[in-house]
């Protein structure tokens, strides 16, 4: 069954087109990754799908319910873990969950057991009665995930679930997300601008840039498009002649030069190192480093947009002037 379907979904903020006529389908039980730099339109899409804002054009359905005409049915079917904490810091962790349970009309007996259950799932049982303002960033995020799961949604949105968290907490959250999906079959829509995250978690990845769909496939298929491994070189001088030869070499499928970095795509790159180093020496190019690796989604992103996700970034995932400053 189709869990999420969009047709030409579009959102404009005044003159800015934040999401530009995107269409895709997500199957039930899938972990679907939205990958893109800040400002690509990921959060705006999530906000539309979760009924917080209305689309400018186009339509979308969650579990068969239209996001504009059947908002209440959509709201019943979804759970959302927001990018910025959406917790009341003057309440305790447990009180935040109780609030959620009552808002979703859970009966008392189920409320108690479910709160205990989700608290232990995210390992916050011992901190449940402390005020949320005393929580660390990772604890807040875990509490939000617990909350998003409490009412057993069919579709869970995770908007940048690990942004600003340390590596260890990030891995932890990845494990929760995977386990949850395997155990409960819940459909998950995840946004991230971390390549590893999209790669590690998603069954399929949608790459979004400036509101447009750039690519949509499984991580493996996306990487296959690149046609092989990546050899990354750093050069210490002007290497135009060397780059020229690389472009002309038949077994190199793609050559991308960016500042002092040259990325070559080829099969069995580990066997070609000598040849490349030799060519660099012939053209007087000073090689500072050479590395060979399997392609990452980062390379996929570069392949489709011609730039790295990082240089694209900066700022907020919102049009300027839209978002209020000064959060806690």
């Amino acid at each position: 069954m189709i869990a999420v379907r969009t047709e030409n979904l579009t959102k404009c903020f005044k003159k800015l087109i934040a999401v530009n006529s995107i269409s895709f389908e997500v199957s039930e039980g899938e972990i679907f990754g939205f990958l893109g730099p800040n400002g690509a339109g990921k959060t705006t899409t999530i906000n539309m799908l979760s009924t917080l804002i209305s689309p400018t054009r186009g339509r979308a359905e969650i579990m068969g319910h239209d996001i504009v005409r059947k908002r209440n049915d959509v709201r019943h079917s979804i759970g959302v873990v927001f990018q910025e904490p959406a917790l009341d810091s003057r309440l305790t962790g447990r009180e935040n969950l109780e609030f959620h349970a009552l808002m979703y009309g859970m009966p008392l007996h189920e409320r108690r057991s479910r709160i205990t259950e989700v608290l232990s799932l995210v390992e916050l049982a011992d901190k449940a009665d402390a005020l949320v303002e005393t929580y660390s960033g990772g604890m807040k995020r875990r509490l939000e995930i617990a909350r998003g799961l409490m009412h057993r949604p069919k579709v869970l949105f995770l908007d940048e679930p690990t942004i600003g968290l340390d590596a260890q907490t990030r891995r932890h959250i990845w494990e929760y997300v995977k386990k949850l999906n395997e155990d409960t079959g819940i459909t998950m829509i995840l946004t991230t601008h971390y390549m590893e995250e999209a790669d590690a978690l998603s069954h399929r990845v949608l790459i979004l840039d400036h509101g447009d769909i750039v690519a949509l496939d499984t991580p493996a298929a996306l990487k296959d498009v690149l046609g092989g491994d990546v050899m990354e070189l750093t050069v210490g001088n002007d290497a135009a002649a060397f780059i020229g030869e690389m472009r002309a070499t038949s077994w190199i499928k793609k050559t991308v030069a960016e500042n002092d970095m040259i990325r070559l795509t080829m099969e069995k790159a580990e066997t070609r190192v000598t040849a490349v180093v030799q060519a660099a020496a012939n053209h007087g190019a000073v090689l500072l480093s050479v590395s060979v690796r399997k392609p990452s989604l980062d390379d996929v992103f570069i392949h489709y947009t011609g730039k790295t996700i990082r240089e694209n970034g900066g700022g907020n995932d919102k049009p300027r002037g839209f978002r209020h400053h000064g959060r806690r």
Binding site: T51, H76, V80, G105, H151
Partner: protein
């Protein structure tokens, strides 16, 4: 299985929103003090200061007792209108999204907010009325005081509703504060809180007649003092009608507002 959707869940939602605000209120009580400072000093300065002066057009035994319903109304006006600020805080700290993404009727969200705004408003107003007794104000019978609480609740609903409507469309705290100040002063000074409206020129009196606070304060005078410029049933009918209207308008504004 989706939960809820019936009338029980509407009551649950109103209750949980009210409960949350009460917890926040109890944990940060400084807000109450801030809200009642102005009416407190006005009672002292004006009530005690002008207490013995005869004022034409006034049916009350003295100025202090005339002023007390006015100050009770003013306290509720301030507390109500600025409870919209809590929506802005929730928006700023993200919690509004948690509320707005929940599968609950928007009218329940508005009534829940109004319920907590009214509770704090009535508590503050009661503190002011009790304080006035220390200056010589005589409280009426408990039954009449209960009637006064009914009027306090109605005034609260009206002005909390107005605050929420503006808050549903605004993102910036300073702007909200500015607009609210701009609104509060005409509501207050045209309402006859400080002086009988019968003393006003006819055209100003005409404006007073479209100020809901006028009916709220006259209603309070009718039950607290036993005399008022507007008949009690009229005040009650106008306040009740305005309250219903604002709840419905508020629900519409929340239904159509964007939470981020």
């Amino acid at each position: 299985m989706p939960y809820g959707g019936d009338s029980m869940s509407v009551l649950n939602v109103i209750f949980v929103l009210w409960l949350r605000d009460m917890k926040r209120f109890v944990r940060a009580p400084s807000r109450i003090i801030g809200n009642i400072t102005l009416p407190f000093f006005m009672l002292v300065a004006l009530g005690a200061g002008f207490g013995r002066m005869p004022i034409p057009g006034m049916q009350s035994p003295n100025y202090l007792s005339f002023l007390v319903p006015g100050m009770v109304g003013m306290t509720i006006l301030f507390s109500g209108v600025f409870s919209g600020m809590s929506v802005l805080w929730d928006r700023q700290y993200g919690f509004l999204k948690e509320i707005m993404v929940a599968p609950v009727p928007r009218v329940a969200i508005v009534i829940g907010r109004i319920a907590s705004g009214s509770t704090t408003g009535v508590i503050q107003a009661t503190v002011i009325a009790l304080f006035a007794t220390a200056l010589g104000f005589v409280l009426p019978s408990p039954v009449k005081f209960a009637l006064a609480v009914v009027f306090m609740v109605l005034i609260s609903i009206i002005f909390t509703g107005i605050g929420l409507i503006f808050a549903s469309r605004m993102k910036d705290e300073q702007g909200f504060g500015l607009i609210m100040n701009f609104l509060v002063l005409p509501f207050l000074f045209l309402s006859g809180a400080f002086a009988p409206i019968s003393n006003l020129p006819a055209w100003v009196r005409a404006i007073s007649c479209i100020d809901p606070l006028t009916y709220g304060i006259e209603g309070l005078r009718a039950v607290l003092l036993g005399s008022s410029a507007i008949a009690l049933p009229v005040s009650f009918a106008v306040c009740a009608a305005c309250a219903v209207l604002l709840i419905l308008t508020g629900a519409w504004f929340f239904e159509t507002s964007e939470a981020v």
